[in-house]
């Protein structure tokens, strides 16, 4: 394993020290391992936090700032944070209007956030939770832990963050977050497995001519393997899988993200985006906004994920609202 690290067990702590040095607008609490806006809490504003295992950067720490998250709670690599951290972040951003937790649907994340929410309630803080489960690669949720939370998390954080900025209630911020999740679908394809610092070798073996279709962002293998295909066919698999689960009709508008999983060059993401745009145009769907780049990664995995959000006027307005974070910035 070759990585720019010192020791596997220090990776998250040391990266947080780097975040602290790089972003004076953020307050990094190294003891509780949380990243908080240095101007939080805001009296009367809903506090918005999210978190999860590390290794998906810029998610979530890179999305802390005006118009998005008030705090991020990074766990160890691919391991959900613990309740203590989440509680510390919840307290740090509570301005009296309650706190909304954005939680990706993984057993560990759900349990740890749930415990933290109960502890926060004991402290008199109202917590609303938004569960993100947009990964349409997970098909039958009765036989699984349910759909995983992936790319839509970026959309939920942006849009809920914008509504929180407008002074909406915790219930309304959570409601718009749930609405974004409901209207979103994601699908990912890996060319290679990622290597966690602790494991020191790739999470799965993938032959030189095979791809992992419907892969998870934690190195979880996908649902099936296929032969390596041209970018055009991979884009079609992703678009079709999402539209099958979250149908869209001609005239619908979409916000789209073609996301790199960490080891894939931007050049390839643009090739994919070109195909996605053409496929959606064929379906009569208008792409009103898009992201092409690394937003929710899986360490060094070569791979891509596509997220499509069926948007309406309100969601588009909130998407366009100013955002000032290390990972996403416009309008200010």
């Amino acid at each position: 394993m070759k990585k720019f690290i010192n020791a596997p067990e220090d990776v998250v702590r040391e990266a947080l020290a780097g975040v602290a040095a790089a972003h004076p607008d953020l307050r990094v609490d190294l003891e509780n391992q949380i990243i908080v806006r240095s101007d939080a809490p805001f009296s009367g504003k809903v506090g918005l936090i999210s978190g999860g295992g590390s290794g998906h950067e810029p998610l979530h720490g890179g999305f802390v700032g005006r118009g998005m998250l008030d705090a991020a709670v990074p766990g160890e690599v691919f391991t959900s944070p613990v309740p203590d951290q989440i509680l510390a972040a919840t307290k740090a951003v509570d301005g009296g209007a309650g706190v909304v937790h954005i939680v990706k649907n993984y057993t560990g994340d759900v349990m740890n956030f749930q415990m933290a929410a109960e502890l926060a309630a004991d402290d008199g803080i109202t917590v609303e939770s938004v569960l993100v489960d947009d990964d349409v690669a997970v098909e039958d949720s009765t036989w699984t832990a349910g759909r995983r939370g992936t790319g839509a998390t970026v959309f939920v954080e942006k849009i809920a963050g914008a509504l929180a900025d407008e002074g909406a209630s915790a219930a309304d911020v959570a409601a718009v977050g749930r609405r974004v999740n409901e209207a979103s679908g994601s699908f990912a394809v890996a060319l290679t497995a990622c290597t966690t610092p602790a494991a020191g070798k790739p999470g799965f073996d993938l032959p030189e001519d095979e791809i992992e279709v419907g892969v998870g962002i934690h190195g979880e293998p996908g649902r099936r393997r296929e032969k390596l295909k041209p970018a055009k066919e991979i884009a079609a698999i992703a678009v079709e899988s999402i539209l099958a689960a979250k149908p869209m009709a001609g005239g619908d508008r979409a916000i789209v993200m073609v996301n790199g999983l960490g080891g894939t060059p931007l050049l390839e993401l643009y090739i994919l985006y070109g195909h996605v745009a053409a496929l959606l145009a064929d379906a009569g769907v208008e792409i009103v906004h898009k992201l092409v780049g690394n937003y929710i990664t899986s360490l060094d995995m070569a791979g891509m994920s596509l997220t499509i959000l069926k948007a309406d006027d309100e969601l588009i307005r909130l998407w366009e609202a100013p955002v000032v974070t290390p990972g996403l910035r416009w309008g200010a």
């Binding site: 295992g53 160890e76 391991t79 415990m115 602790a198 999470g203 293998p221």
Partner: protein
């Protein structure tokens, strides 16, 4: 050993910590096949913290020791296994009043631990989780409890090991491995495997 007291609880946890440390890579490899390659690292981080937390910790009985263990696991492990094992140890500890308990009482406490796991994780036997080792272990314990701690713990450890081994045949329906669908079959569950280690550590302690 006829009574499971605070020292026994400490000894159990120390043995479990040693077993987790020794098998950390193996657990992580199992998790690599059907999960995200961190189960050994997670538990090792947790039990290392537990060892530190118990050092100098004053306890009037096994209950206080095990509640402390559970609380520490919850605040250090994360992931799915942290809350599950943490809640289990807290439930076990809470069920143990006084300076020492006998085999049937410890068995009832272990059953409370299972209940905590099932309440939090909603997994049923056969879902390829911790439950598939823990559930047969408490069953075996109860059956053997009349024979005393050593016999009960040995029976429980054997049942947990058999249960863990049998998870290889199962298709996961809970946790990260469930995403694999039928592809999870053929791999032993990491959480069930660590549960077997924990019951084996208990058997070694009270023998």
């Amino acid at each position: 050993m006829s009574q499971f007291d605070a020292d026994a609880a400490r000894a159990w946890v120390a043995a479990a910590a040693a077993a987790v440390k020794e098998n950390a890579d193996h657990l992580t490899q199992l998790d690599s096949a059907i999960g995200d390659a961190d189960h050994g690292v997670n538990l090792n981080r947790g039990f290392t913290a537990v060892t530190a937390a118990l050092d100098g910790f004053e306890a009037d009985g096994p209950g206080a020791v095990l509640v402390k263990v559970g609380t520490t696991l919850i605040s250090k492990v994360g992931g799915a296994s942290g809350p599950l094992y943490g809640s289990a140890f807290r439930a076990i500890g809470k069920a143990l009043a006084g300076p020492g308990v006998d085999a049937p009482t410890l068995g009832a406490a272990l059953r409370d631990g299972l209940a905590a796991i099932r309440k939090l994780g909603a997994a049923a036997p056969g879902d390829k989780t911790i439950v598939d080792a823990w559930d047969p272990a408490v069953e075996a314990w109860d059956t053997a409890a009349a024979g005393g701690l050593a016999a009960a713990a040995e029976a429980a450890a054997e049942a947990a090991e058999a249960g863990a081994k049998a998870t290889a045949e199962l298709q996961a329906r809970k946790g990260r491995a469930s995403y694999l669908g039928a592809r999870s079959v053929g791999h032993q569950d990491p959480g069930a495997t660590s549960t077997a280690l924990i019951f084996r550590a208990l058997a070694a302690t009270v023998s």
